[in-house]
């Protein structure tokens, strides 16, 4: 028998094979979505940053006040649980500072307990004194975090930013750190921030942006988009007072919030407002509680995000309360 004939398949076998292939491909697509699908439909929403094709989850984590627990074993374990929940949701950016007391040490404790997941995007800061201290500060903070390299090092509140930026750029060029940024908060020194964004080669700017503090929309956020600078929004709940007041007053979510923005909680409402701005890379709410971490992270999941019109409606609603 001709071997070619021996291996010839029948029409029925062909149809079966084609069908099986189609079903298999469909199942594969359903169970193993590509990175882009994950970014926009199934998992935590992610955004590209700093003019690269790298992406960050839109909800990160801050550590000001919340992670400064000293060496209290009870609270060290409690904060580790918060970090664990953050990573379980696919969290990425964690921001800290040498000005936050023991927070860098507490992060080191948590990472030692949990291991360091690939999703971690470790962000730190340098502050006074300037001069040659940036390298020493970064090395010391790496020891405290127990990480080999920071993904981002920022100049804290523009402290001696000229000297620090030069040093950080050198460290970036040498591969000691991956990205460079500057920070401010509470709407302070925006004109100086704007000048630095326009003239310096930075990857990130961190500033205060939330539904009641929107000054950055005027100049800084458009400039960040134009220059391809990633934006980290700090104080998303205005230091906690915004969401606490809404919850304390039992303020109702507007009826349209679920349909238009997929908001089931105030955390959804406040965080989605921030991260739906096209210039914002991620928001960094801080919390001491696992329950609140779950709430925060759910806001980054890819239910509908508010449109530009919906964002205006959201801001107007908060103003009306």
């Amino acid at each position: 028998m001709n071997p070619r004939i021996k291996h010839r398949i029948t029409r029925r076998q062909s149809l079966t094979l084609i069908g099986a292939t189609l079903i298999g491909a469909t199942l594969t697509a359903m169970t193993l979505p590509t990175a882009s699908l994950l970014a926009n439909t199934g998992g935590m929403r992610q955004k590209a940053f700093a003019g690269t094709d790298k992406k960050l989850p839109v909800i990160g984590m801050g550590t000001w006040r919340t992670f400064n627990v000293g060496n209290d074993p009870q609270l060290l374990d409690a904060r580790t649980e918060v970090v664990k929940a953050f990573f379980e949701h696919g969290g990425g950016l964690i921001d800290s500072s040498p000005m936050y007391g023991s927070a860098p040490d507490v992060m080191g404790y948590a990472l030692q307990e949990l291991g360091t997941p690939e999703s971690l995007f470790a962000a730190e800061k340098v502050w006074s004194p300037a001069g040659g201290s940036a390298r020493e500060q970064v090395a010391e903070l790496e020891d405290r975090w127990k990480v080999e390299q920071f993904d981002l090092v920022q100049v804290h509140n523009l402290t001696d930013w000229r000297e620090h930026l030069v040093a950080l750029q050198e460290m970036k060029a040498e591969g000691i750190i991956r990205h460079v940024g500057i920070t401010t908060s509470h709407g302070r020194r925006h004109s100086e921030i704007e000048q630095i964004m326009a003239s310096e080669d930075i990857d990130f700017v961190q500033l205060t942006y939330n539904i009641t503090h929107r000054e950055a929309e005027n100049r800084l956020l458009p400039l960040a988009e134009e220059r391809g600078i990633g934006v980290i929004a700090n104080r998303p709940y205005d230091g906690g007072s915004l969401i606490k007041n809404l919850k304390r007053r039992n303020a109702p979510l507007p009826e349209w919030a679920q349909k238009e923005c997929g908001c089931d909680t105030w955390a959804d409402f406040l965080l989605k407002f921030i991260v739906s701005h096209p210039a914002i890379t991620c928001a960094i709410p801080a919390t001491t509680q696992v329950k609140h971490m779950h709430e925060n992270m759910r806001a980054g999941y890819s239910s509908p995000m508010p449109s530009a019109n919906a964002r205006q409606r959201m801001a107007a609603y908060i103003e009306s309360l």
């Binding site: 000001w64 006040r65 919340t66 400064n68 627990v69 000293g70 060496n71 209290d72 009870q74 609270l75 000005m99 936050y100 007391g101 023991s102 509470h186 709407g187 302070r188 020194r189 925006h190 000054e215 230091g239 001491t288």
Partner: protein
């Protein structure tokens, strides 16, 4: 935006209320039953002050200030707040000041009269620091572990000391010895206010009453 007007009290407190109250609990976890000894020392100091032994009373206060400096500020509070080390140094300075006053006898009021209003205020503040302050946490819904005790925690040590110096000191020395405990109560009161604790009101009230006592004793230094 004016940079300084944008700051709020909370911006200067780098920890949460939970962490602060755990700090108080950890003092109890570590040092109990030393609390009983420091309270006994406080009671002894009051008795010595009223028995016209002001130098010995002043001397007994000094090691307690040094202990709070080391155990509370250097070893614990400084982990949470970079300024904690400086406050610890100030507490050490207060310990040295009290010891020097005791050894030299500078500014001692050797015969305080109970009927003298500033002395009566001093006694009331001392009793408040020794007896009422440890009860405030449990009576306001907190745990016994958060009870603040003279000689262990900073606030009752400062309050009790203010009461005692009103009894045992006079003149310029009285004001000098009152500066550090009063300043700490201002800092602590503002911290507690930022942490939404009503205890801040108590500390500010003690400060106001102490100020009345200080002025009164300065206006009428001779009995």
């Amino acid at each position: 935006m004016n940079e300084w007007t944008s700051y709020r009290l909370q911006d200067f407190i780098p920890f949460t209320a939970e962490v602060y109250f755990r700090l108080l609990e950890r003092m109890r976890e570590t040092f109990w039953p030393l609390h009983l000894l420091t309270l006994a020392l406080g009671a002894t100091t009051l008795v010595l002050a009223l028995k016209h032994r002001p130098r010995l009373a002043c001397l007994l206060l000094a090691p307690l200030w040094a202990f709070v400096a080391v155990a509370f500020f250097f070893q614990r509070y400084a982990e949470l707040n970079w300024a904690g080390g400086y406050v610890g140094n100030a507490f050490i300075a207060q310990a040295v000041l009290l010891a020097l006053m005791a050894l030299t006898g500078w500014g001692m009021d050797n015969a305080p009269r109970l009927k003298n209003p500033p002395v009566a205020i001093g006694i009331a503040i001392t009793l408040f620091g020794l007896i009422i302050m440890p009860l405030m946490a449990p009576l306001s819904g907190g745990s016994w572990y958060q009870a603040e005790v003279f000689g262990i925690h900073a606030d009752p040590t400062a309050v009790t000391t203010l009461g005692l110096v009103l009894i045992i000191l006079r003149g310029f020395a009285l004001w000098i010895a009152a500066i550090m405990p009063a300043l700490w109560l201002v800092v602590s009161g503002m911290t507690l206010q930022a942490l939404d604790s009503t205890v801040s009101v108590v500390l500010f009230a003690v400060l106001a009453i102490t100020l009345v006592g200080l002025v009164w004793k300065s206006i009428k230094p001779k009995r």
